[in-house]
């Protein structure tokens, strides 16, 4: 992929709460059609940064544009071109998936066929099920389906694979890659470095509210290796997760 246009640009973003500073001067750009990872420990400021870009939270200072729109002035327009999956969001109680899809199509003001959206994330069999009755992986896939309703330019996924078993996790990676291949930019946060390495075109490491590194996973690894770093244990050709997948099968299961 060529030198790309920045679809999101974050400059000197600062967010302070009453007693502490969650984000202290973050700058980065997300290019069109890439999967961009925000990595870092809990409390590093990943979710705060994401929610400010999503116009869900006010920033203290800094400049952010999304597809050329400013978060200060054009929040409404930004919301129409992004899809947001929140960490641990809930859905309207007592409604089944099709009804929830209808609700969201109304909220986004677009006409969609609920079943087609559910097919995209392989949940057509669960059309009449309630969100609460879904397994962890199914819940995440449904959440992702709701982010796709308005055919967004960018989707934000906040820790979508946390708590999933290896099969469900790999299944979700495939789904996310598919969405990116369809032309949507993906911004994702995660704790799992193997996931970031597999999935992300570029990653930013966030620590104590600052970006401490930003590059493609390959370059970051190469840089570390060239600085003389060596793993204590020699790397084998497979890891324990490969063994797990090999033994339990590739297909994800939902129970």
């Amino acid at each position: 992929m060529d030198k790309r246009n920045a679809i999101i640009s974050v400059k000197d973003l600062v967010k302070t709460y009453d007693d502490f500073t969650a984000v202290q001067g973050i700058s980065f750009e997300v290019y069109e059609h890439e999967i961009f990872g925000l990595l870092g420990p809990n409390g590093a400021g990943k979710t705060t940064t994401l929610e400010i870009i999503e116009t869900l939270r006010e920033k203290t200072s800094g400049e952010i544009t999304v597809n050329g729109l400013s978060v200060d002035k054009d929040a409404g327009q930004i919301k129409q071109i992004i899809g947001v999956q929140l960490q641990a969001a809930g859905y309207y109680p007592s409604l089944n998936l099709v009804e929830l899809m209808e609700l969201f199509s109304g909220l986004y003001g677009v006409d969609i066929k609920p079943m087609e959206m559910l097919e995209k994330v392989n949940l057509q069999d669960k059309a009449k099920a309630k969100y609460k009755a879904l397994s962890g992986g199914q819940k995440q896939r449904f959440s992702i389906a709701t982010t796709l309703i308005n055919s967004p330019k960018i989707i934000f996924l906040d820790e979508p694979t946390t708590g999933l078993d290896p099969q469900a996790r790999r299944n979700l990676w495939d789904l996310i890659t598919e969405i990116r291949n369809g032309g949507t930019t993906v911004v994702i946060t995660t704790h799992y470095m193997d996931e970031a390495e597999q999935l992300c075109d570029r990653v930013a490491f966030v620590e104590h509210g600052k970006v401490i590194a930003l590059d493609s996973p390959d370059n970051l690894i190469d840089n570390l290796v060239s600085s003389g770093f060596e793993r204590k244990k020699e790397v084998k050709k497979a890891n324990l997760e490969d063994v797990f997948i090999h033994l339990t099968g590739q297909q994800w299961r939902e129970g």
Partner: protein, 363 residues
């Protein structure tokens, strides 16, 4: 690019979702329909009897005499004939019996009979009713074939509408139903939508906050009105609830119900803002609903309350809703005739929504 974003569409989508959710929520259905209907059933079958005086006939009393014969024809008096002396005595003391009568032939000749009546201090008010019934009865028995020397009473009764217990109870239950849907329903829904981050997810869509509130409101009003209509129709067809002008009266009642539920939803918004956890919602809601339930003339007329309590009753919004409902249903008043009641409800509405705007929390 695309067609412009429609707030109406978003609002209606929310209203539809919320309505579906309410219809599937057992607590909403129980509070709005089942409770009021149970009360209506109980009072519907209880009511209509009016006052009854339980008068025991003492064992050994003469029963073949004009006094007992006349008493048997009086609807207010229920004669109890099958209790022995000991039972009569304890029941009198407990107030289960209001009096005991013993009639004996007079061996001395005239008057032909002596009626010995014993009242009980456990039931003085019914005793007094019986006293005047007996006086009246003996007067007419004694003065048979005698021309009155001073004056004669001529009695007649105006035919009026029968005011049944249901005509009092149903509007009160309707008001209670609207109050609980408005307060509990709204409080729980907004609290849980906030707590489970459903609202946060909504905020990530282009929907406006006003659409969320209006959509929820429409659903709840719709549900409350369907509930109200159901209660009115059950009352009318099964318990002869009076609807003077038929459909017009029903429509007027529904307008009042809508005003009522909108005002009560304001309390719900306040509760959802004040509640720190799910378990604090019922106590806070009860603080708002219970006093109104008891003091707003739901079960008893406010006039029956001690005079120091009446001003409190007259300050509560449900009092005015109940009052307006009864006027509309039974007296056939139009909405303009109950403008005073409506105005007070609207003032309550303004006040409570002013508080709601202050304490309501989105996240």
């Amino acid at each position: 690019m695309k067609k412009p974003y429609s707030n109406t569409k978003a609002t209606l989508a929310l209203a539809k979702a919320s309505f579906r959710s309410i219809m599937r929520s057992p607590s909403a259905v129980v509070f709005t329909l089942a409770f009021p209907l149970i009360f209506i059933l109980v009072f519907g079958f209880l009511g209509g009897g009016g006052v009854k005086v339980d008068l025991a006939i003492a064992p050994g009393s003469d029963v073949q005499n004009p006094i007992i014969g006349a008493l048997e024809k009086i609807a207010v008096v229920r004669l109890v004939k099958d209790q022995n002396a000991a039972e009569v005595k304890t029941n009198l003391e407990k107030g289960h019996l209001d009096a005991v009568i013993s009639v004996q032939k007079n061996p001395a000749g005239l008057p032909a009979f002596i009626a010995d009546v014993k009242y009980t201090s456990a039931s003085m008010d019914k005793g007094n009713i019986l006293k005047s019934i007996l006086n009246n009865l003996l007067y007419s028995l004694n003065t048979q074939n005698v021309k009155p020397t001073v004056a004669q009473i001529k009695e007649s009764t105006v035919t009026g509408r029968i005011y049944r217990t249901i005509d009092f109870i149903l509007p009160g239950q309707l008001g209670f139903s609207l109050l609980s849907t408005g307060v509990f329903g709204t409080a729980f829904v907004f609290f849980s939508l906030r707590q489970t981050l459903v609202i946060k997810r909504f905020f990530a869509t282009p929907v406006k906050r006003s659409s969320i509130v209006i959509g929820e409101g429409l659903a709840r009003i719709g549900f409350a009105l369907i509930g109200a209509l159901f209660i009115i129709l059950v009352g009318h067809f099964f318990f002869h609830f009076t609807l003077i002008h038929g459909t017009i009266t029903v429509l007027n009642m529904l307008v009042l119900a809508a005003i009522g539920v909108i005002v009560f939803m304001g309390f719900g918004f306040v509760v959802s803002g004040l509640a720190k956890s799910e378990s604090t919602i019922p106590p806070i809601s009860n603080i708002i609903t219970l006093p109104q339930f008891l003091l707003s003339g739901t079960f008893f007329s406010i006039n029956a309350f001690p005079s120091w309590l009446q001003p409190i009753s007259r300050a509560l919004p449900l009092t005015y809703l109940n009052d307006a409902m009864r006027k509309v249903a039974f007296e056939g008043a139009g909405l303009w005739d109950v403008k005073h009641q409506i105005l007070i409800m609207l003032i309550w509405g303004l006040g409570i929504y002013a508080v709601a705007v202050k304490v309501f929390k989105w996240e």
